[in-house]
Symmetry: C2
Subunit: 420 residues, 2 copies
């Protein structure tokens, strides 16, 4: 997909892994840290981010502002905060929200344990909101934990898939040029209508670009621009790069961004965002095999068939409980629903499935319990015939079911016992 | 959502309904027919459509050209053809494909029973492909079933959600103005870079629009434009409206389109398209209750809980088989996977589920059989306790599972017996 090869551009925290997600995050950060320092100069820059989130999402056609619409039950803005937060060199993140959404925003920050966030009240337009965010960073007040940064990033709350890579590029370019912003090729031709609603002329596509986010500025440049800005610009303007050009003669450097920077605007974009999140969190494999029983061979075969799917296997309920405790302690399930598939093997010819099923029915009650902690448990009974070819067939079927449960992440199926 | 209220803008054929989809289509067409005739003048116009589908989809980042990427296992272009086909007043649909994809395209037309399609070989650029399509319509050859239309619609193969409404609008406007095209507000600000990759200037968003599809032209206007067109335009141009302006002095009328006209460009757009299709085909309800047993009351209660979901219920396997035969004969499953949930009620206190389960296990084999005809069968056992409150709870759970199966349309779960 357009995100590039896995690993390179995928956010490190998006792949849940039992063995310490924080560890993986830190390792990835460490290697980027040195690159960042090398590029940003000998001393690390003071960088802050302003995130205007005061929009009402009228284009979405739903009553909830789009930044608060849920993606896998978590508000969109929380994904964007997570993406900024994991970039260690962004010291402060100023989120600008309307007064009426202030409490909602506070509860999101608390629930998903976001750090380094300050809340500022929005203005009536996007530019006024950004200006409020900048003011909060500019004013070195005694009671204020914020301090003026050298560089400020401006990003959108509704672009959740921003990568450290592009943030670093715009910050580095802003240090050199005073301003920088991500751009993308145009998808449609842009035209200029005449007053009577007819085509006046069309623009040459190759000569124009779509201006996207993130953008970055020397703080003094963009703050100066906003201070000098006309009321008309504050009311009707949309482009921060244009303000830096108009009021500070600063020509922004344009940086090619990835397609993932797109802005969640319509309901279809929410669908796309949810599918991307599901795809990303379904990449990592974790197979836990019970070594006590002699179905180690068949577990291994299942692993082979599963290949690139996440799968957690245990053999009895006691083991499952131990695993679930580990999962809960890892805090993984705060950010994403964690799917656990408890896999059992059974020769249906020797033991009719209904016989074992009675025991396994308790999985339903147990699943209901752990669902409260965002762990989605399902059972899977895989037929284990003597015939090697039939075994392969039931393993393949089992792998398809596991992949379905993980990729679709369908809460309606929690507690079910499926049969392959 | 942005598609507007159900019924008004949703394609009539997208909601599967047992009682004659074709009937509903015809009824909807009939009312639009009179409107179309009224607007198009006393005599119906000869209208044809050209659908360039020669692109290689490089931006998608997948080897399959995007128009052939599957949405619920059916190629994207088949959805677009379906959308054009159901507009009765479009006499011919000329699809322009590359030589290497000619056979693929033929098999798609055959498999999904598309009508009124002619295939023409693509040129090396989009404009050359459209020109080839127009030539096929212009040349009144003896062996050719095509004849020159008065109006030609040009649409994209990768805009599957085009509605009759907008097609009618552009055709009507093209008859009056010579050319017309759908437009949308810009989502991002458009900028013009300088030679050194910096911002030269940004365009005022309110004064520009994105040019989308469909477009329509008096055939003689656009054919004349293409005949006079320079090689440079044929190689590097993108905008048909611009050609009509440049070579025929025809100023196209611009018509505001819906967000659903967007072009499937990136992989995320495929995700969005699949979600939209799933949502649309999950709107209609069909509940079949077995009147022989005395669980009519509880079936009715389930209907109440299900509210707006599609649900097909029968009470024994024989009934299910009858229903499935009807479904197969209706040809519904040619275009979409049809989900059938066979619901059974059982007081788990009186009869342990394992006992009945043994009988119901046969559903798996049967499901495997009908899956070949694109009918996805699942079983659902709903607990039927005496306690009214507990009954409500298990019905609610059952409704959630049914909704999941229908909305997610997850082929991995075919043949499963779920428990609520």
């Amino acid at each position: 997909m357009e995100a590039g090869p896995p690993g390179s551009s995928r956010p490190t925290e998006l792949g849940p892994c039992l063995s310490g997600q924080r560890g993986a995050d830190q390792a990835a950060s460490a290697s980027l840290q040195s690159a960042a320092r090398a590029q940003l100069g000998r001393h690390p820059l003071a960088v802050a981010a302003v995130l205007p989130a005061g929009g009402c999402g009228e284009r979405m056609g739903v009553p909830t502002p789009k930044q608060f619409c849920p993606i896998l039950e978590r508000p969109l803005i929380s994904y964007t905060l997570q993406a900024l937060e994991r970039v260690f060199w962004i010291k402060d993140i100023v989120v600008v929200v309307t007064g009426e959404n202030m409490e909602v925003m506070k509860s999101i920050i608390q629930k998903y344990q976001h750090k380094r966030i300050s809340l500022v009240e929005a203005g009536v337009t996007r530019h006024r909101s950004i200006f409020n965010g900048l003011k909060a960073l500019a004013e070195d007040q005694l009671n204020c934990k914020l301090s003026k940064p050298e560089i400020v990033i401006i990003h959108d709350a509704v672009r959740p898939f921003v990568e450290e890579d592009i943030l670093l590029k715009v910050v580095t370019a802003a240090k050199e040029h005073g301003a920088a912003g991500a751009i993308r090729p145009l998808v449609s031709t842009v035209i200029s209508p005449s007053a009577d609603g007819c085509l006046d002329h069309s623009l040459e596509r190759a000569r124009h670009r779509a201006s996207e986010m993130p953008q970055a500025f020397l703080f003094d440049v963009i703050y100066e621009a906003y201070q000098q800005c006309s009321d008309y610009d504050l009311e009707f303007g949309t482009e921060c790069l244009q303000l830096a050009l108009k009021y500070c003669c600063t020509k922004a450097k344009l940086v090619e961004g990835s397609p993932d920077l797109w802005k969640v605007t319509y309901k279809r974009d929410l669908y796309a965002a949810e599918s991307i999140v599901k795809e990303r969190i379904s990449q990592e494999v974790c197979v836990i095999t019970d070594t006590k029983e002699d179905n180690k061979h068949v577990s291994h075969l299942l692993e082979e068939v599963l290949k690139s799917e996440l799968n957690v296997m245990t053999s009895d309920l006691q083991e499952t409980q131990k695993l679930l405790s580990i999962l809960e302690e890892s805090h993984l399930s705060i950010l994403y629903p964690v799917v656990v598939v408890s896999v059992h093997f059974l020769d249906f010819k020797l033991v009719p499935p209904s016989q074992k099923m009675e025991n396994l029915m308790q999985i339903r009650e147990f699943a209901k319990e752990v669902k409260k902690r965002n762990i989605w448990l399902c059972g899977l009974l895989i037929s284990y015939p003597q015939d090697e070819q039939k075994l392969q067939e039931s393993l393949r079927q089992g792998a398809i079911i596991i992949a379905s449960l993980i990729k679709e992440r369908n809460s309606g199926l929690v507690g079910q016992l499926l049969i392959a």
